[in-house]
């Protein structure tokens, strides 16, 4: 145990692998030291575990209906009560974690790299490339995001996959802006000039030298945005354009439960809590990551 730790914290690593592991370990420890970000991390971890082990955790099926047991308040059997079709809300919330995780993961995987690339290319080359790409980005940015997502989903047809695509399409421009701004500050750094002097082609400079530096702020931003993604997905669900029934997507569950909010509060509130907690988890983690990954604090 201590030896692993020592190995990780070694000042003079003997391999690239050890160096990287050590860096990761330090980031990790720093995160743990901040109570809020540790809490965020725990929440995300629980989310992931829940998603993986949903079938074992959930006491009931997510879709099994029992019309005789509708709208039961929370009890020992139904921890979070039952919904309008007599399904166990707790089980649905548990299974819903899979969907949430998929949405969040896919959106991050699609939009962040796309934004990064567009922003870095625009920032690095400047001139017309920049004007063209950023003009395009600005068009997307100047469109109301939610409306754009709505329009996309409406065009593609409702459903979870299309919702993911729509959200991804509407969120990359923000990342492109950040990546561009960051690239602009890095572009003239001496270490970039040094690789240019060594004859590196632009592709190499961007991919190997600029992108790695944008990623940490990107990770922070993406983590913080995840709450927004969850909420947008929920919003699409709210309007009926998100996940299709009987998928236990949390937003759609709230949407369906909102007519009961005055009398059977738990139907909308339980998935609402799930969203709030997970979003908070991402926010806490993102906040912590920002402190930790901040290049200014890196050296310490």
């Amino acid at each position: 145990m201590t030896s692993t730790r020592d190995w990780l914290l070694e000042d003079s690593p003997t391999s690239l692998w050890q160096a990287n592991a050590g860096r990761a370990y330090r980031v990790f420890m720093a995160l743990l030291r901040n109570p809020l970000s540790a809490l965020g991390g725990v929440i995300i971890l629980v989310l992931i575990l829940t998603a993986i082990f949903a079938p074992w955790i959930a006491p009931f099926s997510a879709t099994g209906q029992n019309l005789k047991a509708r709208l039961l308040p929370p009890s020992g059997v139904n921890l979070m009560g039952t919904d309008e079709l007599g399904r166990d809300i707790f089980s649905r919330v548990i299974y819903g974690s899979q969907i949430t995780l998929t949405i969040v993961g896919l959106v991050a995987l699609i939009s962040a790299p796309l934004g990064l690339l567009v922003g870095a290319v625009a920032g690095y080359f400047g001139g017309w490339t920049d004007r063209l790409l950023m003009g395009f980005t600005d068009i997307f940015l100047s469109m109301p995001k939610l409306i754009l997502a709505l329009a996309f989903v409406a065009a593609l047809g409702p459903g979870i996959n299309n919702a993911i695509i729509a959200i991804a399409i509407t969120s990359w421009p923000a990342y492109a802006r950040i990546a561009r701004a960051e690239t602009l500050t890095i572009r003239n750094a001496e270490f970039i000039q040094a690789v240019q002097l060594q004859g590196a082609n632009p592709l190499r400079v961007i991919v190997q030298h600029i992108l790695p530096l944008c990623t940490s702020s990107m990770i922070v931003r993406v983590t913080l945005d995840m709450a927004g993604v969850i909420l947008t997905a929920a919003g699409l669900g709210f309007i009926g354009l998100g996940a299709q029934p009987p998928l236990p997507e949390w937003g759609a569950m709230i949407s369906r439960g909102r007519t009961f909010i005055l009398d059977q509060w738990w139907v909308a509130t339980m998935p609402g809590f799930a969203i709030i907690i997970v979003s908070l988890g991402f926010c806490f983690l993102g906040d912590g990551l920002r402190d930790v990954l901040d290049p200014k604090s890196e050296g310490k």
Partner: protein
């Protein structure tokens, strides 16, 4: 609290597209038309099942000559202009000339822009209506009681006409009728305000103002109602209704003419075996749904003409019986699983019904992938016949059994080119010729009793074998403040009357 002489209603009114009776075709616009316009004859607030004199005080039907002669009563429009036979001619002409959506109801009578001068004319101060086709005058009276047959004030409308529009644009935001109310304000997706017509020939209504406020959220409607800021909430769900406080709010139920059905597009290979149609009838948990989340909102009903109207067939031979359904499928050698999509409007209670169907059908190996969409989206697909299974509802265009028989048991040309707005065509079901013939015959049957018998026969047949599984008949449960009395809601939105409402 609301003023004593005003009735405030919370309702989702964003379906309104047009208010001109020659164009209006939505639920809410139907409601408003009914309260603003009179027709020659109509179903009246006092008894919505009996055809009563309207602007025509009496009429004489000549089935042989296919004419009906109407004598107008002495009435005035809300504008103060007298109601003249010319107004009737003008009103009917408008509908045929403009040829907008609801025009098809009147064109059934054989009316065309070319022959209108002959078909509707004035003789001795009376209106003579002529029709063409194999049907009885009873059917014609039902048609003339429908929305597009509303009588508008020719003088007022002509004053406000723009170009060739015959006042269409103006009538979409104003009213020009002789009914109990005048539409004094309409702001789309916001409010409709009706003001009492003090000169209404049946007597001025008690409520001086009717305010219909657009509230899309059911939960918000409930809040408004329980807070006393509205008198009536129209779109509450059964669950909400069940939890309303009984001391301030009362609930009234009104059976509706709309039937809810599940239909199978015959363009989908796996849905063509009649055994699938039959099995489907045993896979719907009718009672489970109507006793729980549809309680008070729908009633089990399995024939196309709604209960409570002449010619209805009220037997419900099918119950939820998975084993039997499995047996039927097995006997017919249908291979399961069958995987199809089920299109559904993405609002309550449709998505709930769909999910319940999904669970039930899965038991017998028929798997639905639910595709919720907006109403417009679902209809677009339906019209193009690109859906597989469809969960939808149907309300009659006018209160004659033929309106539904045509939709559910008649399809003489199933080709793609001849679009017809019937359920049969839209599900690509080529109705057997024999059944087609029965529908035509029933329409022409002059004897009312025999005619009703015919329709029951047709319904039995359609119930036994058709890719359309009729499940429910809708009912409206409307919650209102305890002090509201006299609200009348007939079987369709065309029969919503505010003129008898009083508040203590």
């Amino acid at each position: 609290a609301t003023p004593a002489d005003a009735l405030v209603i919370a309702q989702n009114i964003d379906d309104i597209v047009a208010l001109d009776p020659a164009q209006a075709y939505e639920f809410t616009s139907g409601e408003i038309n009914t309260n603003v316009y009179d027709r020659l004859v109509g179903y009246e607030a006092e008894d919505t099942t009996v055809l009563a004199p309207g602007l025509a005080s009496e009429w004489v039907a000549d089935d042989a000559a296919k004419t009906i002669t109407f004598t107008l009563r002495d009435a005035t429009f809300a504008s103060g202009n007298p109601v003249r036979p010319e107004d009737v001619v003008f009103s009917f002409n408008r509908v045929i000339t403009l040829n907008l959506t609801p025009a098809f109801i009147l064109t059934q009578l054989g009316w065309t822009p070319e022959n209108m001068a002959d078909m509707v004319s004035i003789a001795d101060g009376k209106v003579v209506v002529t029709y063409e086709g194999d049907f009885s005058s009873a059917f014609v009276l039902n048609v003339l009681a429908s929305r597009p047959a509303s009588i508008v004030d020719e003088v007022l409308v002509t004053e406000n006409a723009v170009g060739e529009d015959l006042g269409n644009a103006w009538l979409n935001t104003h009213s020009a009728g002789s009914g109990p109310f005048v539409m004094s304000d309409y702001r789309p997706a916001e409010i409709v305000r009706l003001t009492a017509n003090e000169t209404y020939f049946r007597g001025a209504p008690a409520m001086k103002t009717i305010i219909i406020r657009h509230v899309a959220e059911a939960a918000t409607q409930q809040l408004l109602l329980t807070s006393g800021d509205v008198d009536i909430a129209k779109n509450l769900t059964p669950d909400q209704i069940a939890s309303l406080p009984a001391d301030t709010v009362k609930v009234e139920t009104f059976p509706q003419a709309a039937v809810h059905f599940l239909s199978f597009n015959q363009k989908t290979e796996s849905l063509t075996p009649p055994a699938v149609w039959e099995a489907a009838r045993y896979l719907v948990d009718y009672d489970g749904m109507t006793e729980t989340f549809l309680k008070g909102q729908m009633e089990k009903h399995q024939a196309f003409w709604p209960k409570g109207f002449p010619g209805s067939y009220d037997e419900t031979p099918f119950t939820y019986d998975v084993e039997k359904a499995k047996q039927i499928l097995a006997d017919a050698g249908v291979e399961t699983p069958i995987n199809v999509t089920l299109d559904v409007i993405n609002s309550t209670p449709f998505t709930d019904i769909a999910q319940s169907l999904q669970a039930g059908f899965a038991e017998a190996g028929i798997n639905f992938e639910i595709l919720p969409g907006t109403g417009a989206q679902v209809i677009t697909k339906y019209r193009e016949r690109t859906h597989q299974a469809m969960l939808l509802y149907w309300g009659p265009d006018f209160m004659d059994p033929h309106s539904n028989a045509k939709a559910f048991a008649y399809n003489s040309d199933n080709s793609d080119a001849t679009y017809t707005a019937t359920t049969t065509w839209r599900n690509a079901w080529a109705v057997p010729q024999e059944l087609n013939d029965k529908v035509t015959a029933a329409l022409a049957e002059p004897d009312q009793a025999k005619r009703n018998e015919d329709y029951i026969e047709i319904q039995k047949e359609a119930q036994a074998s058709s890719p359309i599984v009729i499940m429910f008949q809708a009912a409206l449960t409307i919650a209102m403040a305890n002090n509201v009395d006299g609200y009348v809601n007939g079987a369709t939105s065309d029969f919503v009357y505010y003129r008898l409402v009083t508040k203590e």
